[in-house]
């Protein structure tokens, strides 16, 4: 894989601004509007597990508002596109060994 496969390059959907209205399917952490359903409850209709396509935050719809609602999501855990872009690589990529 190369850097061109990295996460932020996949995402083309518009980004919600920080004041965007809270939506049921907006990411509570980074406010991105593209959210996938990873899993649904074995007992039908009880909860879904959702995931933000941008920051990969994953939550269950039955969790408390502080984990599921943008407006209630704690400031200290919020993430911006810059946070994702600038997140350090751990561990750092080593140089490729050349066969020569």
């Amino acid at each position: 894989m190369t850097d061109s496969d990295s996460l932020h390059d996949h995402v083309t959907e518009p980004m919600a601004g920080p004041l965007a209205a809270p939506m049921a399917d907006c990411c509570p952490r980074c406010a991105f509007e593209a959210v996938d359903t990873l899993h649904t409850s074995p007992v039908p209709g009880v909860w879904d597990v959702l995931q933000c396509r941008r920051c990969l935050y994953t939550w269950r719809t039955s969790e408390p508002a502080r984990r599921t609602r943008r407006e209630a999501y704690p400031e200290q855990f919020r993430m911006t596109p810059q946070d994702i872009e600038n997140a350090p690589e751990v561990p750092a990529l080593p140089p490729l060994r050349t066969s020569a």
């Binding site: 899993h39 990969l56 994953t58 269950r60 350090p88």
Partner: protein, 476 residues
């Protein structure tokens, strides 16, 4: 009688009154994590927790806090549940000397009963995943024994590593993984990524209680965790061959997840509430593509709550951090009596030692910092005399308060290595380290007024027994 799997151990915990089954319906969040968090707050005899009535799930079996008390840790080692901590560590150290005990290969592993492969892999359909702490980026596997091999020496059994690393479930068949640079799997990954190759990996969940202990144990690069498990169990560890990777994995696992770490790829991971009592993340971490899941029928999902100490994590990696340090120090310095490195996986260690000559205690402390585990962890070392019990913190505080003259006894060493997770590091991965020499100076270090220490009276031992007898009689 050693346990070959998690289920056998849970049976014993239940018989000993150390497993609590919560039968009322609970929410996956926040109840499961809050209950496990609470277990760490109710005192030393806390039980393991079992949940099978979790809202929205039809088929969940969840075990938490399995190692989460000294009673449970004692039972994991096959010791009586009331065994004091210091004795558990001493017995652990005695058994260590039997290392290596070759494992026993069995090919009838119960996790072979059910398989998902390729496109059909869906971790959510096998594991009742849930969040631990509020700020966690998602649902984690945090008590797995993760197996990898040295890509340059794949046939070397000892270099095959079994370790515990945090794994975030970031898709039905994808896991983000944190290989801490000081840990063996990071060496394996580095070699694979230098060649531009994927690193095959096996993630085993729900293991026998000694397997969980050795997976979190700082061992030498070419030492086999399976051979150490054999020594601690007093019997060969049962292993089996994992079908996708061909790696050696525990025979008794509940679930075996296999795949590859995709070479030279990083994705956003975390944050995650860590053993340091602080969140770490988000950082861009390697990603595992899962190719095969093997699991028992009705698998038990074992997880571990960690947060502000003490939690299960501190019991799990307490003794197993003390003993390797004790052995590595004693190999060169037989004067070392005991090591208590139970605080935050050994970010702080208390060492008791006899003194060969003046300055010796500081040398012992510096050696502790340069052991394999010390390089990434030990940031503060308190050295005490041989008659101070490092597990008795009031005694340690006495030594610190009475023996330390800071100008000569506190040494700060700048810019040394530490795990990136250490919250006080600056920058991440770099910290100063401190030695507090709380031993009595000996010749030629002639400082202070220590020539006339008070010692317990020769008759005190006898009087201790006499008082205990009189107290017992007065209560009849």
């Amino acid at each position: 009688m050693p346990y070959d799997d998690l289920r056998g151990f849970l049976d014993t915990l239940e018989k000993e009154g150390q497993l609590l089954r919560v039968t009322e319906e609970v929410l996956p969040e926040p109840d499961l994590a809050a209950a496990a968090n609470a277990a760490g707050r109710i005192g030393e005899g806390a039980p393991a927790l079992w949940f099978d009535n979790v809202k929205g799930f039809t088929d969940a079996r969840i075990a938490l806090n399995v190692h989460g008390s000294w009673a449970n840790h004692a039972l994991a080692l096959g010791l009586p549940r009331h065994t004091p901590v210091k004795e558990q560590v001493a017995e652990f150290a005695r058994r260590w000397d039997a290392f290596p005990i070759a494992p026993e290969r069995r090919e009838d592993a119960p996790w072979r009963e059910n398989t998902q492969e390729g496109e059909d892999v869906d971790l959510f359909s096998v594991l009742p995943l849930f969040r631990l702490n509020d700020g966690d980026g998602g649902f984690y596997l945090d008590k797995a024994a993760v197996v990898s091999r040295d890509p340059e020496d794949p046939g070397h059994f000892g270099k095959q590593n079994v370790g515990t690393y945090r794994l975030q479930v970031i898709g039905r068949n994808r896991l983000a993984m944190q290989p801490v640079p000081v840990h063996d799997v990071a060496l394996h990954l580095r070699k694979a990524e230098e060649r531009g190759e994927d690193l095959p990996i096996a993630v085993t969940l729900g293991n026998d209680p000694v397997m969980a202990i050795v997976a979190g144990m700082p061992m030498g690069y070419d030492q086999s965790e399976y051979e150490m498990a054999g020594a601690l169990r007093g019997a060969p560890a049962p292993i089996a061959t994992a079908p996708f990777t061909g790696f050696d994995v525990p025979w008794g696992s509940e679930v075996v997840i296999e795949g590859v770490i995709e070479s030279r790829k990083r994705q956003i991971e975390g944050p995650f509430g860590e053993f340091t009592g602080h969140y770490s993340g988000g950082r861009r971490m390697p990603v595992i593509r899962v190719e095969r899941v093997s699991h028992r029928t009705n698998p038990v999902f074992e997880s571990l709550y960690l947060g502000m100490p003490w939690t299960e994590c501190d019991y799990l990696v307490g003794p197993n951090t003390c003993v390797p340090l004790l052995k590595q120090l004693r190999a060169e310095f037989p004067e070392v009596q005991a090591v208590n490195a139970m605080y935050t996986h050994g970010l702080l260690a208390v060492i008791s030692t006899k003194k060969r000559y003046g300055g010796f205690a500081k040398a012992v402390a510096m050696r502790a910092m340069t052991t394999p585990h010390g390089l990434g962890y030990i940031t503060t070392v308190i050295v005490v005399d041989e008659d101070v019990d490092p597990f008795d913190l009031p005694q340690v505080m006495w030594a610190m308060s009475s023996k330390v003259n800071p100008a000569a006894d506190v040494v700060v060493l700048p810019n040394l290595s530490v795990v990136e997770l250490a919250p006080a590091a600056q920058p991440a991965g770099i910290t100063s380290k401190m030695i507090i020499d709380a031993t009595t100076p000996v010749h030629p270090d002639e400082r202070g007024n220590f020539s006339t220490p008070t010692k317990d009276l020769p008759e005190t031992k006898e009087w201790t027994a006499r008082l205990q007898r009189l107290i017992a009689e007065s209560r009849r």
